[in-house]
Subunit: 139 residues, 2 copies
Amino acid sequence: MSDLLERLRGRGWRMTAQRRVVAEVLEGDHVHLTADEVHARAVERLPEISRATVYNTLGEMVSLGEVIEVSTDRRAKRYDPNAHRPHHHLVCGRCGAIRDVHPSGNPMADLPDDERFGFTVSDVEVTYRGICPNCAATA
Amino acid sequence: MSDLLERLRGRGWRMTAQRRVVAEVLEGDHVHLTADEVHARAVERLPEISRATVYNTLGEMVSLGEVIEVSTDRRAKRYDPNAHRPHHHLVCGRCGAIRDVHPSGNPMADLPDDERFGFTVSDVEVTYRGICPNCAATA
DNA sequence: TCCTACATTGGACTCAATCCAAGTCAATTT
DNA sequence: AAATTGACTTGGATTGAGTCCAATGTAGGA
Protein backbone atom coordinates (compact mmCIF):
# COMPACT_ATOMS: atom_id res chain seq x y z
CA MET A 1 0.00 0.00 0.00
CA SER A 2 2.24 2.77 1.20
CA ASP A 3 5.04 2.75 -1.27
CA LEU A 4 6.57 5.94 0.06
CA LEU A 5 6.30 4.76 3.64
CA GLU A 6 8.07 1.51 2.74
CA ARG A 7 10.88 3.34 1.03
CA LEU A 8 11.37 5.59 4.02
CA ARG A 9 11.27 2.73 6.48
CA GLY A 10 13.84 0.90 4.36
CA ARG A 11 16.23 3.77 4.89
CA GLY A 12 16.18 3.31 8.66
CA TRP A 13 14.17 6.44 9.11
CA ARG A 14 13.02 6.86 12.69
CA MET A 15 9.27 6.36 12.61
CA THR A 16 6.79 8.47 14.52
CA ALA A 17 3.04 8.89 14.27
CA GLN A 18 3.53 12.30 12.65
CA ARG A 19 5.92 11.06 9.99
CA ARG A 20 3.71 8.12 9.15
CA VAL A 21 0.69 10.36 8.67
CA VAL A 22 2.57 12.79 6.44
CA ALA A 23 3.84 9.93 4.29
CA GLU A 24 0.36 8.47 4.01
CA VAL A 25 -1.14 11.77 2.95
CA LEU A 26 1.35 11.98 0.09
CA GLU A 27 0.48 8.64 -1.54
CA GLY A 28 -0.72 8.58 -5.12
CA ASP A 29 -0.17 9.77 -8.68
CA HIS A 30 -0.34 13.39 -9.77
CA VAL A 31 -0.25 14.36 -6.10
CA HIS A 32 1.13 17.86 -5.65
CA LEU A 33 -0.01 19.19 -2.31
CA THR A 34 1.20 22.32 -0.56
CA ALA A 35 2.57 22.04 2.98
CA ASP A 36 -0.64 23.57 4.24
CA GLU A 37 -2.79 21.07 2.38
CA VAL A 38 -0.65 18.25 3.74
CA HIS A 39 -1.11 19.70 7.20
CA ALA A 40 -4.89 19.99 6.80
CA ARG A 41 -5.17 16.36 5.75
CA ALA A 42 -2.75 15.18 8.40
CA VAL A 43 -4.78 16.92 11.10
CA GLU A 44 -7.79 14.80 10.17
CA ARG A 45 -5.88 11.72 11.23
CA LEU A 46 -3.73 13.19 13.98
CA PRO A 47 -5.33 16.37 15.32
CA GLU A 48 -2.35 17.60 17.31
CA ILE A 49 0.25 17.57 14.52
CA SER A 50 1.88 20.97 14.08
CA ARG A 51 2.71 22.90 10.95
CA ALA A 52 6.38 22.99 11.92
CA THR A 53 6.50 19.20 11.97
CA VAL A 54 4.88 18.99 8.56
CA TYR A 55 7.51 21.39 7.22
CA ASN A 56 10.32 19.47 8.92
CA THR A 57 9.08 16.12 7.68
CA LEU A 58 8.53 17.23 4.11
CA GLY A 59 11.97 18.83 4.13
CA GLU A 60 13.55 15.60 5.21
CA MET A 61 11.74 13.52 2.65
CA VAL A 62 13.10 15.92 0.07
CA SER A 63 16.66 15.57 1.40
CA LEU A 64 16.31 11.82 1.28
CA GLY A 65 15.29 12.13 -2.35
CA GLU A 66 11.96 10.40 -1.78
CA VAL A 67 9.84 13.46 -2.48
CA ILE A 68 10.37 16.27 -4.97
CA GLU A 69 9.77 19.91 -4.20
CA VAL A 70 7.92 21.67 -6.99
CA SER A 71 7.97 25.45 -7.11
CA THR A 72 6.21 26.42 -10.31
CA ASP A 73 4.93 29.76 -9.20
CA ARG A 74 5.26 32.26 -6.40
CA ARG A 75 2.59 30.53 -4.37
CA ALA A 76 3.37 27.79 -1.86
CA LYS A 77 5.77 24.99 -2.80
CA ARG A 78 4.16 21.68 -3.69
CA TYR A 79 5.38 18.21 -2.78
CA ASP A 80 5.47 15.39 -5.31
CA PRO A 81 5.98 11.81 -4.07
CA ASN A 82 6.68 10.64 -7.62
CA ALA A 83 10.46 10.77 -7.13
CA HIS A 84 11.26 7.39 -8.68
CA ARG A 85 10.53 8.31 -12.29
CA PRO A 86 12.03 11.41 -13.88
CA HIS A 87 9.37 13.76 -15.19
CA HIS A 88 8.48 17.37 -15.80
CA HIS A 89 5.40 19.46 -15.06
CA LEU A 90 2.46 21.02 -16.82
CA VAL A 91 0.96 23.86 -14.81
CA CYS A 92 -2.31 25.75 -15.07
CA GLY A 93 -1.58 29.45 -14.87
CA ARG A 94 -5.04 30.17 -13.53
CA CYS A 95 -5.67 27.66 -10.74
CA GLY A 96 -2.18 26.26 -10.23
CA ALA A 97 -3.15 22.63 -10.97
CA ILE A 98 -0.18 20.45 -11.89
CA ARG A 99 0.17 17.29 -13.98
CA ASP A 100 3.26 15.14 -14.34
CA VAL A 101 4.42 14.87 -17.96
CA HIS A 102 7.09 12.89 -19.80
CA PRO A 103 8.15 14.82 -22.90
CA SER A 104 10.32 13.15 -25.49
CA GLY A 105 13.65 14.81 -26.27
CA ASN A 106 16.68 15.37 -24.10
CA PRO A 107 17.05 19.02 -23.16
CA MET A 108 20.31 18.26 -21.34
CA ALA A 109 21.92 17.41 -24.69
CA ASP A 110 20.50 20.58 -26.23
CA LEU A 111 22.71 22.93 -24.25
CA PRO A 112 25.93 23.45 -26.23
CA ASP A 113 29.24 23.66 -24.40
CA ASP A 114 29.78 27.27 -25.35
CA GLU A 115 26.55 28.14 -23.56
CA ARG A 116 27.52 26.50 -20.30
CA PHE A 117 29.73 29.35 -19.14
CA GLY A 118 31.96 26.99 -17.20
CA PHE A 119 29.07 25.72 -15.07
CA THR A 120 28.85 22.08 -14.02
CA VAL A 121 25.31 21.46 -15.19
CA SER A 122 23.58 18.75 -13.19
CA ASP A 123 19.90 19.06 -13.88
CA VAL A 124 17.24 20.40 -16.23
CA GLU A 125 13.72 21.31 -15.34
CA VAL A 126 11.06 21.80 -17.98
CA THR A 127 7.82 23.55 -17.08
CA TYR A 128 4.95 23.72 -19.52
CA ARG A 129 2.42 26.44 -18.81
CA GLY A 130 -1.14 26.80 -20.01
CA ILE A 131 -4.77 26.69 -18.96
CA CYS A 132 -6.41 23.50 -17.72
CA PRO A 133 -9.69 22.34 -19.30
CA ASN A 134 -11.54 23.13 -16.12
CA CYS A 135 -10.42 26.76 -16.02
CA ALA A 136 -10.91 27.11 -19.78
CA ALA A 137 -14.57 26.13 -19.32
CA THR A 138 -14.99 28.71 -16.55
CA ALA A 139 -13.45 31.47 -18.66
CA MET B 1 21.67 54.13 -25.50
CA SER B 2 18.82 53.01 -23.42
CA ASP B 3 17.16 50.45 -25.54
CA LEU B 4 14.60 49.53 -22.91
CA LEU B 5 13.83 53.16 -22.23
CA GLU B 6 13.25 53.78 -25.93
CA ARG B 7 10.92 50.85 -26.22
CA LEU B 8 8.90 52.04 -23.25
CA ARG B 9 8.73 55.60 -24.49
CA GLY B 10 7.57 54.32 -27.86
CA ARG B 11 4.58 52.74 -26.17
CA GLY B 12 3.38 56.10 -24.88
CA TRP B 13 4.36 55.22 -21.37
CA ARG B 14 4.01 58.19 -19.04
CA MET B 15 7.58 59.11 -18.10
CA THR B 16 8.67 60.07 -14.61
CA ALA B 17 12.08 60.40 -13.00
CA GLN B 18 11.47 57.16 -11.10
CA ARG B 19 10.53 55.14 -14.15
CA ARG B 20 13.48 56.45 -16.11
CA VAL B 21 15.89 55.48 -13.35
CA VAL B 22 14.46 51.98 -13.04
CA ALA B 23 14.70 51.46 -16.79
CA GLU B 24 18.30 52.70 -16.81
CA VAL B 25 19.30 50.37 -14.00
CA LEU B 26 18.03 47.41 -16.02
CA GLU B 27 20.13 48.02 -19.14
CA GLY B 28 22.54 45.34 -20.31
CA ASP B 29 23.05 41.66 -21.08
CA HIS B 30 22.81 38.88 -18.53
CA VAL B 31 21.20 41.36 -16.16
CA HIS B 32 19.02 39.61 -13.59
CA LEU B 33 18.56 41.89 -10.63
CA THR B 34 16.15 41.43 -7.75
CA ALA B 35 13.68 44.20 -6.95
CA ASP B 36 15.81 45.09 -3.95
CA GLU B 37 18.96 45.31 -6.00
CA VAL B 38 17.17 47.51 -8.51
CA HIS B 39 16.00 49.69 -5.65
CA ALA B 40 19.51 49.93 -4.18
CA ARG B 41 20.95 51.07 -7.52
CA ALA B 42 18.06 53.39 -8.23
CA VAL B 43 18.53 55.11 -4.87
CA GLU B 44 22.06 56.05 -5.89
CA ARG B 45 20.63 58.18 -8.68
CA LEU B 46 17.37 59.25 -7.08
CA PRO B 47 17.63 59.00 -3.29
CA GLU B 48 13.93 59.41 -2.53
CA ILE B 49 12.60 56.61 -4.74
CA SER B 50 10.54 54.12 -2.75
CA ARG B 51 10.48 50.36 -2.82
CA ALA B 52 6.76 50.38 -3.70
CA THR B 53 7.49 52.38 -6.83
CA VAL B 54 10.23 50.00 -7.88
CA TYR B 55 7.81 47.10 -7.47
CA ASN B 56 5.07 48.94 -9.36
CA THR B 57 7.37 49.94 -12.16
CA LEU B 58 8.92 46.51 -12.61
CA GLY B 59 5.44 44.99 -12.56
CA GLU B 60 4.33 47.27 -15.34
CA MET B 61 7.37 46.63 -17.48
CA VAL B 62 6.54 42.95 -17.14
CA SER B 63 2.90 43.53 -18.18
CA LEU B 64 4.10 45.49 -21.17
CA GLY B 65 6.26 42.53 -22.12
CA GLU B 66 9.44 44.59 -22.04
CA VAL B 67 10.95 42.81 -19.05
CA ILE B 68 10.75 39.16 -18.03
CA GLU B 69 10.21 37.99 -14.50
CA VAL B 70 12.53 35.12 -13.59
CA SER B 71 11.72 33.02 -10.56
CA THR B 72 14.25 30.22 -10.50
CA ASP B 73 14.26 29.61 -6.79
CA ARG B 74 12.40 30.51 -3.64
CA ARG B 75 14.48 33.63 -3.20
CA ALA B 76 13.50 36.99 -4.66
CA LYS B 77 12.23 37.24 -8.24
CA ARG B 78 14.73 38.59 -10.75
CA TYR B 79 14.06 40.94 -13.63
CA ASP B 80 15.50 40.33 -17.08
CA PRO B 81 15.38 43.13 -19.67
CA ASN B 82 16.26 40.68 -22.45
CA ALA B 83 12.64 40.28 -23.52
CA HIS B 84 13.22 40.62 -27.27
CA ARG B 85 14.94 37.30 -27.80
CA PRO B 86 13.47 34.05 -26.48
CA HIS B 87 15.85 32.26 -24.14
CA HIS B 88 16.11 30.03 -21.12
CA HIS B 89 18.20 30.14 -17.96
CA LEU B 90 21.17 28.46 -16.38
CA VAL B 91 21.20 28.92 -12.61
CA CYS B 92 23.87 28.36 -9.97
CA GLY B 93 22.32 26.43 -7.11
CA ARG B 94 24.85 27.83 -4.68
CA CYS B 95 24.95 31.57 -5.29
CA GLY B 96 21.89 32.05 -7.49
CA ALA B 97 23.82 33.55 -10.43
CA ILE B 98 21.92 33.36 -13.72
CA ARG B 99 23.04 33.24 -17.37
CA ASP B 100 20.80 33.46 -20.42
CA VAL B 101 21.11 30.39 -22.66
CA HIS B 102 19.74 29.40 -26.05
CA PRO B 103 19.49 25.60 -26.21
CA SER B 104 18.78 23.89 -29.52
CA GLY B 105 15.70 21.71 -29.71
CA ASN B 106 12.04 22.57 -29.38
CA PRO B 107 10.60 21.32 -26.10
CA MET B 108 7.13 22.52 -27.11
CA ALA B 109 7.07 19.90 -29.85
CA ASP B 110 8.26 17.25 -27.41
CA LEU B 111 5.06 17.16 -25.40
CA PRO B 112 2.74 14.58 -27.00
CA ASP B 113 -0.97 15.28 -27.21
CA ASP B 114 -1.84 12.47 -24.86
CA GLU B 115 0.28 14.15 -22.18
CA ARG B 116 -1.47 17.49 -22.44
CA PHE B 117 -4.48 16.45 -20.37
CA GLY B 118 -6.74 18.83 -22.28
CA PHE B 119 -4.64 21.86 -21.34
CA THR B 120 -4.11 24.70 -23.79
CA VAL B 121 -0.32 24.83 -23.55
CA SER B 122 1.07 28.26 -24.31
CA ASP B 123 4.61 28.33 -23.01
CA VAL B 124 7.62 26.25 -21.99
CA GLU B 125 10.33 27.24 -19.58
CA VAL B 126 13.60 25.35 -19.37
CA THR B 127 15.84 25.83 -16.37
CA TYR B 128 19.31 24.31 -16.25
CA ARG B 129 20.76 23.96 -12.78
CA GLY B 130 24.35 23.51 -11.71
CA ILE B 131 27.30 25.15 -10.03
CA CYS B 132 29.02 28.19 -11.49
CA PRO B 133 32.81 28.17 -11.95
CA ASN B 134 33.18 30.73 -9.21
CA CYS B 135 31.36 28.66 -6.60
CA ALA B 136 33.06 25.48 -7.79
CA ALA B 137 36.43 27.10 -7.06
CA THR B 138 35.28 28.08 -3.57
CA ALA B 139 34.04 24.56 -2.81
C1' DT C 1 -1.28 78.08 -16.41
C1' DC C 2 -4.62 74.94 -14.74
C1' DC C 3 -6.56 70.44 -14.30
C1' DT C 4 -6.92 65.82 -13.51
C1' DA C 5 -5.94 61.25 -14.21
C1' DC C 6 -2.21 58.81 -13.26
C1' DA C 7 2.10 58.01 -10.36
C1' DT C 8 4.54 57.94 -5.90
C1' DT C 9 5.05 57.26 -1.04
C1' DG C 10 5.79 54.77 3.34
C1' DG C 11 3.86 52.22 6.61
C1' DA C 12 0.85 48.46 7.63
C1' DC C 13 -0.22 44.03 6.22
C1' DT C 14 -0.08 39.16 4.11
C1' DC C 15 1.61 34.80 3.22
C1' DA C 16 4.86 31.12 3.16
C1' DA C 17 8.42 29.48 5.49
C1' DT C 18 12.07 29.23 9.09
C1' DC C 19 13.83 29.46 13.80
C1' DC C 20 14.08 28.28 18.55
C1' DA C 21 13.92 26.73 23.31
C1' DA C 22 11.28 23.69 25.90
C1' DG C 23 8.95 19.43 26.16
C1' DT C 24 8.25 14.58 24.37
C1' DC C 25 9.26 10.06 22.76
C1' DA C 26 11.33 5.94 19.84
C1' DA C 27 14.56 2.86 20.09
C1' DT C 28 18.75 1.24 22.14
C1' DT C 29 21.04 -0.20 26.35
C1' DT C 30 21.16 -2.27 30.76
C1' DA D 1 10.98 -3.88 31.82
C1' DA D 2 13.04 0.42 33.11
C1' DA D 3 16.40 3.74 32.17
C1' DT D 4 18.58 6.49 28.97
C1' DT D 5 19.41 9.69 25.33
C1' DG D 6 19.61 11.81 21.13
C1' DA D 7 16.34 12.68 17.87
C1' DC D 8 11.60 14.53 17.10
C1' DT D 9 7.71 17.76 18.00
C1' DT D 10 5.56 21.96 19.39
C1' DG D 11 3.65 26.67 18.90
C1' DG D 12 4.83 31.12 19.06
C1' DA D 13 8.00 34.52 17.37
C1' DT D 14 10.49 35.96 13.43
C1' DT D 15 11.94 36.65 8.69
C1' DG D 16 11.67 37.85 3.76
C1' DA D 17 9.45 39.03 -0.21
C1' DG D 18 5.86 41.21 -1.87
C1' DT D 19 1.20 43.64 -1.84
C1' DC D 20 -2.16 47.13 -0.35
C1' DC D 21 -3.88 51.60 0.53
C1' DA D 22 -5.04 56.38 1.58
C1' DA D 23 -2.73 60.61 1.21
C1' DT D 24 0.16 63.40 -1.63
C1' DG D 25 2.59 64.80 -5.81
C1' DT D 26 3.08 65.56 -10.83
C1' DA D 27 3.24 64.81 -16.23
C1' DG D 28 1.24 66.23 -20.01
C1' DG D 29 -2.95 67.73 -22.36
C1' DA D 30 -6.45 71.70 -22.84
